[in-house]
C-alpha cells in the first residue's frame, strides 16, 4: 500500500508519522535523537511502520468480523510479545558484543570477566522473560532498562578483583554499538515468533482467523510514496532538498489537522518557543520565535528544577498547590536562580514561587504571541510545556485576561504535531506530482 511519512527531527526526540493516501494516521514512532540523526530518523520510521501494521491488523480483524473484546485482548498480547521479541533480540546483540569486548586487547587480562558477564546477562535475560504487569515499552526504553538492570547486577558481581567500573565500561562501550547497529526490529521479521506465543491456547477457529489476519498484514507491502523531513536537525535528513519543510510550516499544518479550527499556535519546547498564525487551510501567515534569551522555553524550567533539586516533571504539580502566586519579575535564567534563593530565604512557599515562575514563562510566551499577531480563536498549545498543568493554568488565565474567551486546544499527542504536518505535506506533494496543475 501507498503511504506518506513525515519525520520531525528534534534536538531531543525524533518523531515519525505515517499517513495513508487519505491522510489518515497509520502509525507513529518516537525515539531519542542521539548524536546520529540518520539512525534516529530510521528508528522512528521503523516504529511507525510497526504501528502502521498494527493499524492494518485492526482493519483486517474488523474485516474478518473480529471486533470483540477477545480481538482487542489478542492485539494487546501480540504487541506485548512483539516488544519482548524485539528487546530480547537487542539484549542478545548486547551480550554478544559485550563478550567480544571482554576478550579484546583492552580487557583480556581480566581473568573471569567473561564468566561474570555471562552471569549478568543470564540474570537479566531470565528477568526479562518473566511476564510483566506493566507493558513492555518501545525501542527507546531498551537503553534505560538495560542500563539500570546491568548496573544493578554488576554491583552484585563486582569485587576487589573485578571492579564495578570495569564492568560498566564494557556496557557503556557496547550499548552505543547496539544502538547504532541495524538490528531487525520490524513487524514482518519478528511477528511470527510473537504470534506463536500469542496463539497458544486460542480456540482453533479464532486461531486460524487471527493467524491469517496477522500473516496477511505481515506480507502486505508498504511503500513510502513520499517522505518529508522537518525539525531542528533537518539539514541532515536523508532527503533531497525539495523534501524538507520548515518546522514552522509543519507545526502550523499539524496543529490545523489536529484541531481544524486552529488560528493561532503556541509551541513551547525545550529549546525554543514559537508563536504561529495559520489561515483556514493551515497555511502559516505569520510567526515569531524567541530570541537568544531562553527565558520562555522549557530549558528555563529545567534550570529551575535543578536549582530546587527536583525533577522537571514535579514542578507543575507542586505549583498547582499554590494558593497565592508570587510575582516573579525576572524571567532571565541568569537571575532566576538568585531570585529563587532570595525568595526562599524570605520564607515564601516553594509552590507559590513556582506558580509565579510558571506565570512568568507564560508571560514571555504571551509577548511572543502578541508579536506574531495576537491570539485568535481557536488557540492550540503544543510542545513539552503543554503537558505541564501549572503552565496551562497560567496560560488559560492570561489568555482570558488579555483576549477574553478563546477555545484552547491541547492534545496529549502534541509531540507529533510537526511530524504530522510534515506527513501531510508529503501527501500533498505526492498528490501534486500525480496531477501537476
Amino acid at each position: 500500500m501507498k503511504t506518506f511519512v513525515g519525520i520531525d527531527l528534534g534536538s531531543t526526540t525524533t518523531k515519525a508519522v505515517m499517513l495513508d493516501e487519505d491522510g489518515a494516521v497509520l502509525g507513529r514512532g518516537i525515539t531519542n535523537s542521539r548524536s546520529n540523526y540518520h539512525l534516529a530518523a530510521d528508528i522512528a520510521r521503523d516504529e511507525a511502520f510497526v504501528e502502521a501494521r498494527f493499524t492494518l491488523l485492526d482493519r483486517a480483524l474488523a474485516a474478518a468480523g473480529e471486533t470483540g473484546d477477545e480481538a482487542v485482548a489478542f492485539r494487546k498480547r501480540l504487541l506485548y510479545q512483539l516488544r519482548k521479541v524485539q528487546q530480547m533480540a537487542q539484549l542478545a546483540s548486547l551480550r554478544a558484543r559485550a563478550l567480544e569486548e571482554a576478550v579484546g586487547a583492552r580487557l583480556g587480562h581480566h581473568g573471569d570477566l567473561v564468566a561474570r558477564l555471562e552471569h549478568i546477562f543470564d540474570v537479566i535475560e531470565a528477568d526479562w522473560k518473566k511476564p510483566r504487569l506493566t507493558g513492555v515499552k518501545g525501542s527507546d526504553f531498551f537503553r534505560d532498562q538495560a542500563a539500570s538492570d546491568f548496573s544493578r547486577c554488576a554491583e552484585r558481581v563486582a569485587d576487589r578483583d573485578l571492579k564495578f567500573d570495569v564492568l560498566m565500561s564494557v556496557f557503556d562501550k557496547v550499548i552505543i554499538q547496539v544502538e547504532n547497529a541495524r538490528i531487525d526490529l520490524t513487524f514482518e521479521g519478528n511477528i511470527r515468533t510473537a504470534l506463536t506465543r500469542c496463539l497458544r491456547g486460542e480456540a482453533p477457529e479464532r486461531h486460524a482467523r487471527y493467524e491469517a489476519a496477522v500473516l496477511s498484514v505481515a506480507d502486505t507491502p508498504i511503500d513510502v510514496a513520499r517522505a518529508i523531513g522537518t525539525g531542528y536537525g533537518r539539514q541532515t535528513l536523508p532527503f533531497p532538498k525539495e523534501s524538507i519543510r520548515s518546522e514552522i510550516l509543519c507545526h502550523g499544518l499539524g496543529a490545523h489537522v489536529m484541531f481544524p479550527g486552529t488560528a493561532t499556535v503556541l509551541d513551547i519546547g525545550g529549546q525554543d518557543t514559537k508563536a504561529i498564525q495559520v489561515d483556514g487551510d493551515g497555511i502559516v501567515t505569520s510567526f515569531q520565535m524567541n530570541d537568544r534569551c531562553a527565558a520562555g522555553c522549557g530549558r528555563y524550567l529545567g534550570y529551575i528544577a535543578d536549582e530546587m533539586n527536583m525533577g522537571v516533571h514535579e514542578l507543575g504539580p507542586l505549583a498547582m498547590q499554590s494558593t497565592r502566586t508570587v510575582k516573579i519579575n525576572s524571567t532571565c535564567t541568569v537571575f532566576a536562580g538568585a531570585e529563587l534563593r532570595d525568595r526562599l530565604t524570605m520564607g515564601q512557599k516553594r509552590e507559590d514561587i513556582l506558580a509565579g515562575l510558571h506565570r512568568a514563562i507564560i508571560l514571555r510566551a504571551m509577548a511572543l504571541l502578541a508579536r506574531s499577531g495576537g491570539i485568535a480563536d481557536e488557540f492550540t498549545f503544543t510542545g513539552g510545556v503543554a503537558n505541564n498543568e501549572a503552565a496551562v493554568r497560567a496560560l488559560r488565565q492570561l489568555v482570558k485576561e488579555n483576549y477574553g474567551s478563546r477555545t484552547i486546544n491541547i492534545s496529549a499527542d502534541s509531540i507529533y504535531t510537526g511530524a504530522l504536518g510534515a506527513a501531510l505535506f508529503a501527501v500533498r506533494a505526492g498528490a501534486s506530482e500525480e496531477h501537476p496543475s
Binding site: A295, E339, A370
Partner: protein
Amino acid sequence: MTNEAESGGAAPSAVDEVVARAEALYHDVELSSVQRWRDAHGGAKAVGYMPIYVPRELIHAAGMLPVGLMGGRGQVEIIRGDAWFQSYICQIPRSTIELALTGRYALLDGFLFPSICDVIRNLSGMWKVLFPEKYVRYLDVPQNYDPDVGGRFFGSELRSLYADLCALSGEAPSDERLRASIALYNDNRRSIGRLMELRATEPWSVPAWEVYLALYAGNLLPVEEHTALVDAYIAAARAASRPRRDNARVVLSGAFCEQPPLELIRTLELAGCYVVADDMALGRRWPEGDIEVTGDPIAAIAEAFITRSPATAARYEPHGDRGAPLVQLVRKSHAEGVVLAAPSFCDPALLEQPILQDSLDKERLPWTAFKYSENLGQFQVIREQAGTFADSIKLWSEA
C-alpha cells in the same frame, strides 16, 4: 522593611505621614491624582514627559499639568511591552508602552520625549504611530553649548514647543505666565535644593528612599503642592531626630532614566551606604539654581539648560573630560565612594562607565558597579555587594 527602628513603632509621626503620602503617589499606577487634578480644574489637560531635560515651566504656563513618566516601577506585568521590544532593550520603554496600551495614560493629552538615547528617541516615533490622536513631540536638546548656537537652537525648539502646547490647551501664549511659572518652579528647586543639602550634611535624617519618594511626588503633584510637600518633609525629618549610623557616604550614579526599584534604594542604605547625592529623578531638579525671571523667559530657560543643566550620560560633555562632573559631585557632597548603578542595556550609562571608573581611579575614589532593572525582584546580591563596599570604605578611612 520600613524604618520601624527609627520611628520607634509609635503612632504615625509627621514624617511618616508625609512619606506615606508620597509613597501612595509612587504606587499610583492609575494616575488617579492626575485625574483628580483634571476634575478639579474643569477638565484641564495634562502632558506626560519622559525623565530628563523637559522644561516643565512651558507645560505649566500653557495651563496644563506636567506629569513625569518614569516607567512601571516594577508594578506592572509586561506583555504588550515585550511584544514590541527585543530582549536586549532596557525595561523603561516596555513598561511605558504597557501602561499606555492598558489605558493608564489615556488621561494624558500630550507626550514629550526628550533626547536621552536612541531607544527613547525611537519611542517617540512609536508613540506617533500607536497613539495618533495624542500630541507627541521629540524634544532634541542641544549638544552644542555655545549660547549663540546651541542656545539659539534650543530657544527656537522651546518656542515652537510652547506654541504647540498653547494650541493644545487653548491658552494664549504669554511671557508673563511663563515668568510666573518659572518663579513657581524656582521656589520648587530651592526647596529641593535645601533637601539635597540636608541629605548631604545629615543623611541619617533623610533616608535615601524617602528623599526619592519626596522627589518622585513632583512627577505628579502640581508644583506648589510639591514644594509644600518637600518643605513639610524637611521639617518633619529634622524634627524626627533619627539616630546616626556608621554608614559610608556614597554617590549613586547612572540612574538618570530608568529608575531603580524603591527596594533597591532601601537595600543600599540597609547595607551601610548613605546616599548623599544621586541622579535619580533628575528631571525634577534641573537646572541647578534659579532661572532668570526677567527678560525673555524662553531664552532664560534655554540659557539655563546651556549653562546649568546637570551632567548625565545623555548630554555631551564639551569641556574637560566625561568623568569630571561626577568627581566634582563626589567632592561637593563629601562622599567617600561611588555606586555606579546603571540599568541593564542602558547604552548611555554603560558606554561611559569605563570612563567614570577611570576618572574615579585617578582620584583614588572607591567605586562599585552593578546593573539593575526597574522590575528587579531580588536584592540579596546587591545587598552583599553594597555591604562589602561600605565596609571597605570604612576600613580604608580608618587605615
